[in-house]
């Protein structure tokens, strides 16, 4: 019987097997790429310049980035160790008799935003404006943290990441004190300083940082300034938005750009 459905089904099955077989080497090579311990031998840090930018108006505060970061980088679980976190800003309406335009500002970051944010204790009617701000290492050009390291354990890599050499760090904590953005911490297990590395082990193999990977709304925009892709998200970001940086008056020259940053954000 020439039943069209069984033939279609058979062709579909053959096609599926074929596609599966073809994708096998691709999948294997991708698997190999991200499972290997070896550094990619053709990676030249002087040929790349990584940057992450953030669109505050796109962040929905889901906290997937904070979770992914802790998973990816084996950050200690306790609530005071974060390589990246999200802050929630709630700007209340001014009190009825006051001559202020904006009321009290309330900021929180419960467990860094991991697992999402619990409902605010401020009733919705009382809120003038509210938004989420993801935070991470600001990739400063004149980084105060690398300036103060006494032994040269933390440094500016040629490709724009600011990294810590965990086998050389003596754990003095000077860099943690010197970072104006609070993005560093002392790892209690290794007793060395730790911070966002832009998932250096991922970006050097062509993968995206874990936080960028899982962000559902593309609030985190990541790219290589030396190799812009087609419809490069970073180029689109700066063409579309007026941008700001955190604490520009300190002279750290942070490279991470924020779009739609409110004046209350520190």
């Amino acid at each position: 019987m020439n039943d069209p459905i069984p033939r279609r089904r058979m062709l579909g099955t053959i096609g599926g097997v074929f596609a599966g077989l073809l994708s096998l080497p691709l999948a294997r090579s991708i698997k190999r790429k991200f499972r290997s311990t070896a550094a990619p031998s053709d990676y030249d840090p002087t040929q790349h310049k990584w940057l992450m930018c953030l669109d505050v108006d796109k962040c929905i505060g889901c906290g997937l980035c904070a979770d992914a970061c802790k998973t990816e980088n084996h950050v200690p679980e306790a609530t005071h160790y974060f390589r990246t976190w999200i802050e929630r800003y709630i700007i209340r309406k001014p009190a009825s008799a006051s001559d202020q335009l904006r009321g009290e500002v309330l900021v929180d970051s419960p467990n860094g935003g991991r697992g999402g944010f619990p409902p605010a204790r401020v009733p919705k009617e009382d809120i003038l404006k509210s938004f989420f701000v993801p935070k991470l290492c600001n990739l400063c050009e004149a980084s105060p943290c690398t300036q103060v390291c006494p032994v040269g354990a933390t440094f500016d890599a040629p490709d724009g990441a600011v990294l810590v050499d965990p086998t050389y760090c003596i754990g003095c904590g000077f860099c943690i004190q010197a970072c104006p953005y609070g993005c560093r911490f002392l790892n209690p297990d290794t007793r060395t300083a730790e911070k966002c590395t832009l998932c250096y082990h991922r970006i050097t193999r062509g993968l995206k940082p874990a936080c960028v990977e899982v962000c559902p709304t593309q609030a985190r925009v990541f790219g290589d300034l030396k190799h812009p892709v087609e419809n490069d998200p970073l180029q689109a970001f700066v063409m579309k938005n007026k941008v700001n940086t955190l604490k520009p008056y300190l002279g750290t020259k942070p490279r991470v750009l924020y779009a739609n940053l409110d004046k209350e954000v520190r």
């Binding site: 005071h80 929180d108 105060p144 003596i170 104006p180 953005y181 609070g182 007793r191 060395t192």
Partner: protein, 420 residues
């Protein structure tokens, strides 16, 4: 204040009020008791050395009785200075890296070199030139282990001729002159460590190294007063009141300058009221009230200023015994006050968030590496070492041509000595 410190939106976290960066929300500060002690100890070293250099460089003859005591005090404290740092480091076994690959843009990187320079080229050398003649003498007369130590310190040189001793004196004078900026560097760089942190408005300003040095001078002088009185009391020897009065005078004027400059810092902060002033003011009141208002200001500055100030004008009308007791009390208060000042600087900078929206409350533990029990031990260790040094080098039984702490004539049992 509630308008400026944001109230917690979710459940009140145990360790802070308002908003702090998540990395700041732990239960312990990054820099604890040990980092409070380190500048305190190096400050005492620098101050005690300046006391000694007043004799050598500025030829204040009245202070000669405490010349050797000041140097030995400086040495005892300097030998302990690295201990708080080693206990604090995450990897003390890598601490040698600071001398192998010092990152010269970091003020902390000069620690190894400044410490080594000050210990060897300044303090030990000055002590050696002053004691060299005695080492030769004592090496000859003393037996056993003590004799061995004295002979070892002669480094094989036995020339104690007039010419040689004159050379010693001249070199000691040169080293003293070098030692004054070295002492300022030894302690000033710590002030610069804090002063260089622009991320933290409590620390990051130009006046921080100056304040550190001035309070170090004051604490060092107070320590010399304290040690001198305790030594004479233990040995039941009469105190040289003129020496004590001159030390008290330097302490008074040092306190005046120190209080003026620190006061200037606060006045400027309050006047210019830059961003962060509100949270810092709240923090100082909520977290530092006892250590700042009571400890540093009242006990550590105002009371000694009052008492010592009265002494400057009415010394003649106050009996020796009362003056001695009050000098002891004042020096102890000043020592407490400067320790409180170190606490206020180091901990104050960590009690408020860099988000400028929150204030933390840290527990201070008794036990553990950052506990105050270890702190007490580390503070007592220099005194123990000083006792050993005094036994070895300031012994009453050993004759010396150098400066001695107290008049010997009335003791009756020890050989006659003379002050230069």
């Amino acid at each position: 204040m509630s308008m400026l410190i944001a109230t917690a939106i979710t459940e009140v976290a145990p360790h802070f009020e308002g908003y702090v960066y998540p990395n700041e929300s732990g239960s312990h500060p990054l820099w604890g008791v040990l980092i409070v002690l380190y500048p305190y100890i190096t400050g005492l070293v620098a101050g005690a050395f300046i006391m000694a250099s007043l004799v050598r460089v500025f030829r204040v003859k009245a202070l000669e009785p405490v010349y050797r005591l000041s140097l030995l005090t400086a040495l005892a404290f300097l030998l302990c200075a690295t201990l708080p740092l080693l206990f604090h480091l995450g990897h003390p076994e890598r601490s040698y890296q600071i001398m192998i690959t010092p990152h010269l843009t970091s003020p902390m990187a000069i620690f190894g070199f400044v410490y080594a320079w000050y210990l060897m080229a300044v303090l030990l050398l000055e002590l050696w030139f002053d004691f060299r003649e005695d080492f030769v003498t004592w090496g000859g007369t003393e037996k056993g282990f003590r004799g061995f130590i004295y002979r070892m310190f002669t480094v094989g040189v036995s020339d104690v001729s007039e010419k040689s001793l004159a050379l010693d004196h001249k070199l000691s004078w040169i080293i003293s002159i070098m030692g004054i900026p070295s002492a300022f560097l030894l302690h000033g760089y710590v002030g610069f460590i804090f002063g260089s942190i622009k991320a933290n408005p409590w620390w990051g300003n130009a006046i921080m190294p100056i304040i550190f040095i001035l309070s170090a001078m004051v604490s060092g002088i107070a320590l010399c007063v304290f040690n001198y009185l305790v030594l004479c009391w233990i040995r039941r020897r009469p105190v040289d009141m003129r020496c004590l009065d001159v030390m008290g005078m330097y302490l008074f004027y040092g306190l005046v300058i120190d209080a003026t400059v620190e006061g200037l810092d606060w006045i400027h902060r309050a006047y210019s009221a830059q961003e962060g002033f509100d949270v810092m003011e709240y923090m100082a009141h909520a977290r530092l009230f006892y250590t700042l208002s009571i400890g540093q200001v009242l006990v550590g500055t105002l009371i000694p200023l009052l008492v010592l100030g009265v002494f400057q004008v009415a010394r003649k009308h106050i009996s020796d015994i009362v003056r001695r007791r009050l000098y002891f009390t004042c020096s102890f208060f000043v020592l407490l006050g400067v320790l409180a000042m170190r606490w206020n600087v180091v901990m104050g900078g960590q009690f408020f968030s860099k988000s400028l929206r929150g204030v933390m409350s840290y527990h201070l533990e008794f036990a553990g590496l950052e506990g105050w029990f270890l702190g007490l031990i580390l503070l007592s260790l220099p005194f123990i070492i000083l006792t050993v040094l005094i036994r070895l080098f300031l012994s009453e039984k050993l004759p010396t041509q150098g400066h001695v702490p107290h008049r010997m004539e009335e003791s009756g049992t020890s050989p006659e000595t003379s002050n230069h």
